[in-house]
Symmetry: C2
DNA sequence: TTCTAATTTGTACGAATGTACAAAACTTTC
DNA sequence: GAAAGTTTTGTACATTCGTACAAATTAGAA
């Protein structure tokens, strides 16, 4: 048996068990969290033996680490490309929207970037940050802060009258909204009584971009400049 | 139990172990998630024996359930009061802000409402929703949806030109931002390079209210009224 | 006091966990 | 072909888990 693979679906299905394990782990971690998923669960979902997980990734932490290493590069690269393009938009209002879209889009993309897609990985990050996972915390601060700063700077450039600190707050809110939408999309469907599908990525992106752009444009809380004495700053809009 | 209140301060007279267990569990669940915390961890933090947890709450799920039952009532009652007051604000713009504040404030309150405070419980809910906890999911949909609908309706009243579905989206984003701020406040401090303290509840509330109000006021994506000329019918249910 | 019920402790058990490791099976190279 | 390497399997071990339960302790009423 098992002559050279002429056209064997089964053999072609899992030419690489290592990949299958990674994929299964990503799916399970993203939906159930790190602690609730056992190595045996992952192995079973991947059609593999528990020992194979240990062989390829040494420990459970090592498996999570590899998932991050697999995704961080491509996702941040994609974001950088989109951000660079957005920066070239002339109109400030349009540029802001393009920047926000450049931030949101790769997080929702499903299947284009890398095997598995960005939405699942983003959801994984959301769940890991909620669980306070040690491994994830270390990698994120190390890998994503550069990207975050680049976006914050770009947004600040298109909204120079708003203090950087407030832009940090609002981009934080944006990320929280993004995470939450990926974690519990069914809540949107439920509360809108079927008027919207929370799992519809395209619609979610548009709604999130629209809301976030407006939030960035809100007048600042703190006085924008240290020595500008322009008393009453009544709400203009 | 059922003893007539001869010495009514049964709770204060002795360090009530049941209360200590509840408090310790709330703290540990909120910071580490449900699955990562063992009954023994809770017992040790409360200075109790593992068996006591079983005695008072039967199971680990029962313990979580009791935490929810303890908090849901007071928090939703407080929100209803604040919402009722906000609804009486005349100016539509001010009213919207008051409504949003009525939603956000109880979630951040620390120690006023009930033993432990709302911020910890809100963080707990955030972590549970990320973990996809079954017990939490059931209670939340059952207990919080009424409150959510009340707020959505109130916001819709002050922004009648925006479709209800979009208000649902934006209130969903608000809740996500709120959750994320309570889960990882240190990220704000880090990204703002010390310019802001993410754990400063007062500032967080003001920033969140400001950003959310603007997001609610953003022009809608979908045409608000069907009076527009009918091109291709969208997938309208 | 003494009786009774409520609480706390200590311990134990079966199941599930992460991981180590040797044998088996498969690939690649000679 | 055989030899050497890599991958997969099966199993086993030491912990830790949630929870049950009887004994010990405590509180309240007689």
């Amino acid at each position: 048996m098992a002559s050279k693979s002429t056209s064997n679906d089964l053999a072609a299905r899992k030419p690489n068990l290592r990949e299958a394990i990674l994929c299964a782990a990503e799916e399970l971690f993203a939906t159930n969290g790190f602690n609730a998923v056992s190595v045996r669960d992952i192995a079973q979902a991947a059609g593999a033996n528990p020992g194979s997980v240990t062989y390829h990734f040494k420990t459970k932490d090592g498996l999570l680490l590899e998932i991050y290493n697999r995704h961080c590069g491509p996702m941040n690269r994609r974001r950088s490309e989109l951000l660079a393009a957005a920066r070239r938009v002339r109109d400030l209002q349009d540029r802001l929207e393009a920047i926000v879209r450049a931030y949101v889009l790769p997080a929702f993309s499903s299947g284009s970037d890398l095997a598995g897609g960005g939405a699942r990985f983003t959801r994984l990050r959301a769940v890991m940050s909620a669980e306070g996972n040690e491994v994830a915390r270390r990698i994120i601060a190390q890998t994503f802060d550069d990207t975050s700063h680049a976006f914050i700077d770009a947004i600040h450039e298109s909204l120079p009258h708003i203090p950087r600190t407030e832009i940090v707050w609002r981009s934080h809110f944006l990320l929280g909204a993004l995470y939450y939408t990926l974690v519990t999309p069914e809540r949107v469907s439920r509360l809108s009584r079927g008027g919207a599908d929370g799992a519809d990525a395209g619609n979610a992106i548009e709604q999130l971009v629209r809301a976030s752009v407006a939030s960035f444009q809100a007048p600042p809380l703190d006085p924008p400049a240290p020595s500008r004495r322009r008393s009453m700053a009544q709400s203009k809009t």
